[in-house]
């Protein structure tokens, strides 16, 4: 059972103020109970872990400058006074 408190907690985790939490409770509950079947799958241990063994390939950590000093990028930003971005208070 998914309760209202839980849905609101999940909303909190993903930083979304849920306008209609009740609507999501039933749907999330229904989907999660479908997901339950994952817990019943029987695995043949060794083979099943192969995917987890794939490795990360990272590119060289190299400094690259933006074309035109990043102007095309900065132009697209939501700017307020004096070319600064206005952010809410951090408390």
């Amino acid at each position: 059972m998914v309760e209202r408190k839980q849905i609101e907690h999940l909303g909190n985790l993903v930083k979304i103020e849920l306008k209609d939490p009740e609507k999501y409770i039933k749907q999330v509950e229904q989907i999660l109970s479908y997901f339950e079947r994952l817990d019943k799958v029987e695995f043949d241990s060794d083979k099943m872990l192969r995917l987890e063994a794939s490795v990360n390939v990272l590119r060289e950590d190299k400094h690259e400058t933006y074309a035109d000093d990043g102007k095309p990028l900065i132009e697209k930003l939501k700017k307020d006074q004096n070319n600064f971005i206005r952010a809410p208070k951090m408390v």
Partner: protein, 483 residues
């Protein structure tokens, strides 16, 4: 002028001078203006630039200058693929004003080959959905019957190609998002091998499973575009080296002697009768062409929907946490807010399906549930891959209907997310395992709705896949789109 030609025919018509690029592009824009009110495939139409570019290409052709291999072919791009200077909204309120400062690798490759980007096409918000009903800008409609869904999430791609509003479209396929609309709109759609096409510039939803793929009217067209967009990209470290692969080569090689396995778990219960009989018909066509067909069991497929939605939701909740609406987004003043309250307020503008998936993702990743859902889902994923490896030791290709049912009415299933998720049963196996899969238009139902057949091949076997798809395509004679 016939706008219903294939991209390949377009190339030869332009080369022979039977049609100018400007004429064709102008006619396509007229067509868009005529039918858009009914089907709503496009979110942004870049008609002025398209016409200018067309004139430029015509001039180059006249002056016998070097022209890229697309010769001014008009193409539409799903609106979650970045295009410099044109909006990339992901069909979301959250990005309604977003203009990317750069082109996705696939877009710059097409531009280099002188393709013309006609505009950006509709999708389910952030590519989450299978009907294109979850677009913030309203649903796209199926040109075969405008009361029906076109499939999704790349609904705009399927519809723009099917309704003669573009010759080619690029979509993205995370769980069937290219193949589903291709099947529902009677066009060809390919999900390439994971890593064959660069994802640089594709707005992330579920990075470990999504691929950009072409939608076109014929298999030849898909092969032509795949040649252009595939290959290593320094900006995407998951890309694979395709060597000197040419996907247009030997398309007519046929399927004689090839072994084709019908996936039992994708053709059983819950399949529409007409879809099932079309699948059987396709199998007997392959037999007529000399292929050996058999049934094959992949029992992990039964767990694939649960595994897929667990993994996709987990990745979505992580990827979409970046949208705080501060540097870009829609107008919403920050005055009077503390950061978290601001974020929660603006983020409540995500649509219902995106919100649902983020909630699910947060749940399956949370302490105490990780082992029960996410870890198990990853194991199911490995199990699917290992069963496919076994299957491909016995057969060359796998076959199943792309979608288990016919297109349905807009609004019919919108409040029933689980039912919609279950419709992905036949497409997500290719995403979870990374193998390539293609949907080929095969039949039209008694109610006049398209039925697509899906073929799957092993990793990087696009040549074999396209050859079989071409063979199947050559057996069909489908009616023109009734719009």
């Amino acid at each position: 002028m016939n706008l219903g030609i294939s991209a390949t025919e377009f190339l030869s018509q332009v080369r022979e001078g039977n049609v100018s690029v400007e004429e064709f592009v102008a006619e396509t824009i007229d067509r868009i203006q005529k039918v858009e009110g009914k089907i709503h495939a496009y979110l942004t139409i870049d008609d002025k630039n398209a016409l200018e570019k067309a004139k430029m290409i015509d001039k180059k052709i006249r002056n016998k200058e070097k022209v890229g291999s697309c010769l001014g072919m008009p193409i539409s791009i799903k609106d979650n693929i970045c295009t410099a200077g044109l909006k990339t909204t992901c069909a979301s309120k959250m990005l309604e004003n977003f203009i990317a400062p750069y082109d996705a690798t696939v877009v710059s490759k097409l531009k280099t080959e002188d393709a013309i980007i006609l505009g950006k096409v509709n999708l389910d918000e952030f590519a989450m959905g299978s009907t294109t009903e979850f677009s913030y800008f309203g649903p796209t409609k199926n040109p075969w019957n405008i009361e029906y869904v076109p499939g999704g999430s790349s609904g705009g791609s399927g519809v723009s190609v099917s309704a003669l509003e573009s010759l080619i479209s690029l979509g993205s396929d995370t769980g069937g998002s290219v193949r589903s609309p291709s099947s529902f709109c009677s066009v060809v759609g390919l999900k390439p091998t994971y890593g064959l096409v660069s994802r640089y510039g594709l707005v992330s939803y579920a990075n470990s499973i999504e691929q950009i793929g072409p939608v076109a009217r014929t298999v030849e067209d898909v092969a032509f575009i795949l040649n252009i967009i595939s290959g290593l990209d320094a900006h995407d470290n998951t890309t694979l080296d395709k060597g000197n692969a040419d996907y247009t080569k030997d398309l007519d090689a046929g399927v004689s002697g090839k072994k084709i396995g019908m996936i039992i778990q994708m053709t059983g219960d819950g399949i529409d009768k007409e879809v099932a009989s079309a699948t059987n018909k396709a199998i007997s066509k392959f037999e007529d062409l000399g292929a050996e067909c058999s049934s094959i069991s992949l029992d992990a497929v039964e767990h694939s929907v649960a595994a897929y939605y667990t993994i996709a939701s987990a990745e979505a909740s992580s990827n979409l946490s970046r949208y705080d609406n501060l540097r870009y987004g829609f107008d919403f003043g920050t005055e009077g807010y503390e950061f978290k309250a601001y974020a929660s307020k603006v983020r409540s503008n995500f649509g219902p399906e995106v919100t649902r998936r983020m909630l699910l993702g947060a749940f399956v990743l949370s302490t105490g549930y990780y082992g029960k859902y996410y870890l198990k889902a990853q194991k199911v994923r490995a199990m699917i891959k290992s069963q496919l490896d076994e299957a491909f030791k016995k057969v060359d290709l796998l076959i199943a209907p792309t979608m288990p049912i016919l297109p349905f009415k807009i609004g019919e299933k919108i409040d029933d997310p689980l039912t919609l998720y279950l419709l992905d049963i036949n497409t997500i196996t290719a995403n979870l395992s990374g193998i390539p899969a293609i949907s080929v238009p095969f039949d039209i139902s008694s109610s006049g709705l398209p039925i697509g057949i899906q073929l799957l091949a092993n990793t990087l076997q696009e040549n074999k896949l396209l050859q079989a798809a071409y063979a199947l395509q050559q057996t069909t004679h489908l009616p023109k789109v009734p719009l």
